[in-house]
Symmetry: C2
Subunit: 254 residues, 2 copies
C-alpha cells in the first residue's frame, strides 16, 4: 500500500477526513493513477501512527480521503534512537542517512570531530541540511516509516555530547583490547529495554581521537565493539541500528 506524509492539521479525526495537498496530488492522480476507493496509508510524520484511508475525491489541488482506522503502533520502533555521526565524505553520509532511516533511526546528528576530513562551510550548511533532510524523507516514504527522521545541522563534539546526555543510553563503538569484548557488548545491547532512548556515537573515517573517547566516557557513554573485523564508518552505524532493531522491533514498552 502506498504511504504519504501530511501535516498533523491535515488529519481531522472528528470528521474522519484526511486532506492531501502539494506535490503528492499530482503523484496520486497522474503518476500512480489511483482511483476513488483505493486505500492508502497516511502518517503525520511525528506521532508514528498509521492512518489508513480510502480516497473519496480528487480535485486539482487536493485529494480528500476518508479515515478508516488508526493503527496506534505503526511501523516505529518502541525506542527513540539518535545517530551521532562523525561527519564523513558527502556520498557516505547520504548512504548513512538512507540506510539508518530504513532501519528505524529517529534523528541523525552530523558531528564535527577532530579527525573529520570534511568541513561544512557555514554558508552552505543550510543547503546541505535541506538536501540531507530530503534524503531522509524519501527513505522514510520508501521504507514506510511513521515519522520523518530529522537530520540536524552540524554540531560540535561538545554540543553533541550535551544533546546525547538527554538520552537514556549512549553507545560508542571502539576497538576494545578485551578478549571477550563481544560478550560484554552482547550484555550491554541486550540490557536495553523497549522505550529507553539510545544515542550511537560513530567516529569519522579516521576514527575517534582518544580525547573524544575519554570525554564521551565521562559523559556516560558505554564502549562496545563491532566484532573483530574493521568496519568502515558508514557500516558502523547501520550495524548498531540493525542490532537495536532486531531486539526492539514489535516489542511493547508500556
Amino acid at each position: 500500500m502506498y504511504q504519504f506524509f501530511v501535516a498533523p492539521e491535515a488529519i481531522n479525526t472528528d470528521l474522519k477526513r484526511v486532506f492531501i495537498t502539494g506535490q503528492d496530488v499530482n503523484h496520486i492522480k497522474n503518476v500512480l493513477r489511483m482511483k476513488n476507493g483505493e486505500e492508502i496509508n497516511v502518517s503525520n510524520g511525528t506521532d508514528g501512527k498509521e492512518y489508513r484511508c480510502a480516497i473519496l475525491e480528487m480535485t486539482d489541488d487536493t485529494v480528500t480521503c476518508e479515515l478508516r482506522f488508526i493503527k496506534e503502533d505503526g511501523n516505529e520502533l518502541p525506542s527513540r534512537i539518535v545517530l551521532f555521526q562523525g561527519l564523513p565524505k558527502a556520498d557516505k553520509f547520504e548512504l548513512i542517512i538512507q540506510k539508518c532511516v530504513e532501519l528505524g533511526v529517529a534523528e541523525i546528528v552530523p558531528v564535527s570531530m577532530k579527525r573529520c576530513v570534511m568541513k561544512v562551510d557555514e554558508k552552505k550548511e543550510s543547503k546541505k541540511v535541506e538536501r540531507w533532510q530530503a534524503i531522509a524523507e524519501a527513505a522514510a516514504k520508501q521504507s514506510k516509516r511513521g515519522i520523518i527522521p530529522t537530520v540536524t545541522g552540524v554540531l560540535t563534539y561538545g554540543e553533541a555530547l550535551k544533546k546525547a546526555q538527554e538520552l537514556d543510553i549512549i553507545l560508542l563503538p571502539y576497538e576494545m583490547a578485551d578478549a571477550d569484548s563481544m560478550g560484554k557488548t552482547r550484555e550491554i545491547i541486550q540490557n536495553i529495554k523497549p522505550g529507553q532512548s539510545v544515542g550511537i556515537f560513530i567516529g569519522p573515517e579516521g576514527g575517534f581521537d582518544d580525547s573524544e573517547v575519554e570525554k564521551a566516557n565521562a559523559a556516560g557513554a558505554v564502549t562496545i565493539t563491532l566484532g573483530k573485523r574493521i568496519l568502515r564508518t558508514e557500516t558502523a552505524g547501520l550495524t548498531v541500528m540493525s542490532w537495536l532493531m532486531y531486539f526492539l522491533d514489535g516489542r511493547d514498552y508500556k
Copy 2:
C-alpha cells in the same frame, strides 16, 4: 597493523619465513615506506589464520619476513555464511559485496531471479566476476579478514538452491503476515550454533516471486522478517549479516 594476503605456499612455517611478492612489494617499500623490523599481519586467504611477521629484508621483487606467531582463530566468524543475492543494479551489488565482506561473509553468489531488472551478458560475465572479486579482496584487506571471500558467477535460481542445500541453515527474509513475526525470527536466529553454515537468500529490487519462495521453502529455507519497515535489497543482506555477526563473533565452535 597492515595486513597482506599471500598464496599458501609463500608461508613456510618450518623455516619461519613468509615471502611477499607482486604489487604489495612496491606498496610496502614505496607507499607505506615500511622499514626492516616493522610488524605486519599476513593471511593466506583460505585458512582464516593470522600470521604475525616482522620484515627481515626487502629486494626489488620480494619482501622476506620472519614468522613470529600464528593466531589460530584470526578475525573470522566461526560459521561459514553464504549470501545468495538476487542480482541488483551494478552499484548496489558492489556496495553489497563491500559491506558483507566487512561484516564477515564467506561467499557471495549473485542469483538470477524472476524480478531481476539486471541481466549479465554471458560474454561480459568473466569481466564482471573479476571486478566483483577485486572489490571483495580490497574490502577483505581493509577490514582485516583472514580469508578473501569468493564472489561466484551468476547462478540460476535452481543452481543457487542446490548449492544452498549443502549448508546447515537457509534463511529467507520475506514479509510475514504474522503479528509476532519478529519474535519468531529471533527464535530462529538465536538457535543458530557457532560452526553451523548459513545461507541467506535476498530478493532483487522487485522482491521474490511467490513461486521462488515456495521453491526455497521446499528446499528447506526458513522464512524470517527484517522488521516492520521495508528494507531495500542492498540493506537486507547486511542486516542479516549484522545479526549473525552479533551472535557468532568470538564464539567457539569446538
